[in-house]
C-alpha cells in the first residue's frame, strides 16, 4: 500500500543556514506521529513543508504517492498554537465557513436547505468537541482551550486526510491539556486521520499517538552552528519506548536546546 506521506531525502535551507537535512520518512494512513525536539530545530519548518506553505530545497514529499501540492489545501487541516479561528465569526459560523467555502465558490455563502444541512453538520461537529453550548459566542469570549476546540472542529468538519497540529496545547493550563489530549485521541480514532503533532512536552508525545519522531542535529560544528541541519534522530513506535528511553531522549533534547541557546548568544 502507498504510504499516506512519503518523504525522500528532504533538505530545507535558508541561504547558507541548513534547517533540515536528509529526512526520509514513510507514514502510513492512520498513524499519529508526535514530533518533539529542541526549539529552533526545524519542527515547525517540517510542518510548514507538510502544509505546503514552504517548498523543500531538495528532495520531495509525496502525498498518497503524488507530489504534495505547493500550497495549503483542504486535504491537510491545521491547528496552530494561536490565531487559528476567525474573530469576526461566531463559533457556529467559524465551523460553517469551511462548508460554505467548499460548496459556494462565488459567494462563499450557503442559502436555504443547503445552509440548514451545513449548519446541522457544524452543530454536530461542535457537540463532538464539547462546544455545543457556545454556538453564538465570538472567539474573544472563549477561553484558550475552547478556542483550540473550535479550531479542531473547524478543521475536522472538512474531513481532511491529514491533521497537522503545531503545539496546539502549548498555551494551555496543564489540567485543560489533559482534557484536550483525550479529545484529540478520540477525534483521531473517530475521523480516520493521519496526525502530525508538534509538542514541546516529550511526555505528551508518549501518552498520545502511535509514533514518536525526535528532531535533532545529526552533526554539530560549534564554530558554525547553522552549517548542519536537523534530522530525525529517533523514530520509534510509542509502545516500544519505555521510561528509561523517555528520560534519555528528554535529556538529549535539553542538551541540544542548551547548545542552540549558547550558539544564539555567542
Amino acid at each position: 500500500m502507498t504510504p499516506r506521506i512519503a518523504i525522500r531525502n528532504l533538505w530545507k535551507e535558508y541561504g547558507d543556514q541548513v534547517v533540515l537535512e536528509r529526512i526520509n520518512l514513510e507514514v502510513p494512513a492512520g498513524e499519529f506521529c508526535t514530533i518533539v525536539g529542541a526549539s529552533g530545530c526545524g519542527k515547525t519548518t517540517f510542518l510548514r513543508l507538510l502544509l505546503g506553505e514552504e517548498a523543500p530545497s531538495r528532495g520531495q514529499i509525496l502525498l498518497d504517492g503524488e507530489p504534495l501540492p505547493a500550497e495549503p489545501g483542504p486535504d491537510r487541516g491545521i491547528v496552530f498554537q494561536r490565531y487559528s479561528v476567525f474573530p469576526h465569526l461566531t463559533v457556529l459560523r467559524n465551523v460553517l465557513l469551511g462548508l460554505e467555502l467548499k460548496s459556494a465558490p462565488l459567494t462563499g455563502h450557503l442559502f436555504g436547505a443547503a445552509r440548514r444541512e451545513a449548519l446541522d453538520r457544524s452543530r454536530q461537529m461542535l457537540d463532538a468537541v464539547g462546544l455545543g453550548q457556545a454556538l453564538d459566542k465570538y472567539p474573544s469570549e472563549l477561553s484558550g482551550g475552547m478556542q483550540q476546540r473550535l479550531a479542531l472542529a473547524q478543521s475536522l468538519v472538512m474531513h481532511p486526510e491529514i491533521l497537522l497540529l503545531d503545539e496546539p496545547f502549548g498555551a494551555l493550563d496543564p489540567g485543560i491539556r489533559a482534557d484536550m489530549h483525550q479529545l484529540v485521541a478520540r477525534l483521531w480514532r473517530e475521523n480516520d486521520l493521519t496526525v502530525f503533532m508538534i509538542t514541546h512536552d516529550i511526555r505528551e508525545g508518549f501518552h498520545l499517538g502511535t509514533r514518536l519522531l525526535v528532531f535533532d542535529k545529526l552533526r554539530h560544528d560549534p564554530d558554525a552552528p547553522h552549517a548542519y541541519g536537523a534530522g530525525i534522530t529517533y523514530d520509534l513506535p510509542v509502545e516500544r519506548a519505555d521510561q528509561r528511553m523517555l528520560g534519555e531522549i528528554a535529556s538529549e533534547v535539553a542538551h541540544s536546546e542548551a547548545l542552540v541557546l549558547a550558539a544564539d548568544e555567542s
Binding site: Y83, S84, G108
Partner: protein
C-alpha cells in the same frame, strides 16, 4: 491620601471636569468681550452673547431677505453633501484598492509604490489643476477631498490587511478557500471596522480640504460663508459657524463610532447577544 496617579474621578466628576475648560473659555470670552465693548460699543472683534444670539437667530431661523433661503441650512446641506460624497468615494477607493494591494502580492508590487508616491503630493497644490480640469463647480471640491483622503485610506487599509495573522489566511486555505473567497469572507469583514476607524481619522483633513476649496470658489457652503463675511469683520457670524462646524464634526465622529460598535461587536470585544 492615595497617589495622584491612582486617583480616579467618579462618572459625575469626570463629566464636570470635562465641561470645565469649555465653561472657562466662555467665561474668559465674556469678560474680554465686555471689556472691549465698554471701551468701544462698535467693536466687532468680540461681539457680546446678545449680538451672537441675534446673528444665530438671523442665520438659522429667518429666511434671507434677498434669496428667501435660510442661510445656515443651505450652507450646511451644501457642505455636508460635498463631504459625504468625497469621504464616501475615498472610502470605496480605500477599501477596494487597500484590500487588493494588501491581499495580492502581485498587485502590491505593481501599485503600492505608485500609491505611496501619489500620497506625497500635497492635495492643496493640485487644487488649481482640479479647478482647471473640473471647473469651479461641485466636482472639483469633491475631487479635492477624494484626492486628499483616498491615498491615506488605501495605505491604511493595505496595512491592516497585511497585519492579519498569517495563520488565519493559511487556515482559510486549508478550509478550501480560494483567493476570492478568502478576500470576501476572511479579509473584507475584518477590515470593515478598520475602514470606519480610518474614515474617522481622515475626517479632520476632509474638513480642511472642504473649507479650503469652498473659500476659493463656491456660492454656498460653511467654508464659503465664513470667508465671505470675513470682509465685513462679521465675527458675530463667523464664531457661530465655527462652533457649528465643530459640533457637526463631533457628531459625525460619534455617529461612526456608534455605527462601528453596532455593526462589529466582535471588534470592540463586546459580548454577542
Amino acid at each position: 491620601m492615595k497617589r495622584l496617579i491612582n486617583q480616579r474621578p467618579s462618572r459625575g466628576t469626570a463629566i464636570l471636569l470635562g465641561l470645565l475648560p469649555f465653561l472657562i473659555l466662555a467665561l474668559v470670552y465674556l469678560v474680554a468681550s465686555d471689556a472691549r465693548l465698554a471701551a468701544n460699543p462698535n467693536d466687532k472683534l468680540l461681539p457680546s452673547f446678545v449680538s451672537l444670539g441675534e446673528a444665530i437667530q438671523r442665520m438659522a431661523f429667518e429666511p434671507n431677505k434677498r434669496t428667501g433661503e435660510i442661510e445656515l441650512w443651505v450652507d450646511t446641506w451644501a457642505s455636508l453633501r460635498r463631504l459625504a460624497q468625497g469621504e464616501g468615494l475615498a472610502a470605496l477607493i480605500g477599501l477596494g484598492l487597500g484590500v487588493a494591494l494588501g491581499a495580492v502580492p502581485l498587485l502590491r508590487a505593481g501599485f503600492a509604490p505608485f500609491v505611496a508616491g501619489v500620497a506625497l503630493i500635497p492635495p492643496m497644490a493640485i487644487l488649481p489643476i482640479l479647478f482647471i480640469v473640473f471647473g469651479l463647480g461641485e466636482v472639483s471640491k469633491v475631487a479635492l477631498i477624494v484626492f486628499g483622503v483616498a491615498p491615506f485610506l488605501v495605505r491604511d487599509l493595505q496595512q491592516r490587511v497585511q497585519e492579519l495573522p498569517r495563520e488565519q489566511i493559511i487556515k482559510a486555505e486549508t478550509l478550501s478557500g480560494s483567493s476570492w473567497q478568502i478576500i470576501l469572507r476572511v479579509i473584507l469583514p475584518q477590515v470593515l471596522p478598520r475602514l470606519i476607524d480610518g474614515v474617522r481619522l481622515s475626517l479632520g483633513s476632509a474638513w480642511l480640504f472642504l473649507i479650503a476649496a469652498e473659500a476659493i470658489a463656491a456660492t454656498e457652503g460653511l467654508g464659503y460663508r465664513i470667508f465671505l463675511v470675513r470682509r465685513y469683520l462679521a465675527m458675530d457670524q463667523i464664531l457661530p459657524y465655527v462652533v457649528w462646524i465643530t459640533i457637526l464634526a463631533y457628531l459625525m465622529d460619534l455617529g461612526l463610532r456608534l455605527l462601528s460598535r453596532r455593526l462589529f461587536p466582535w471588534y470592540h470585544g463586546a459580548v454577542a447577544r
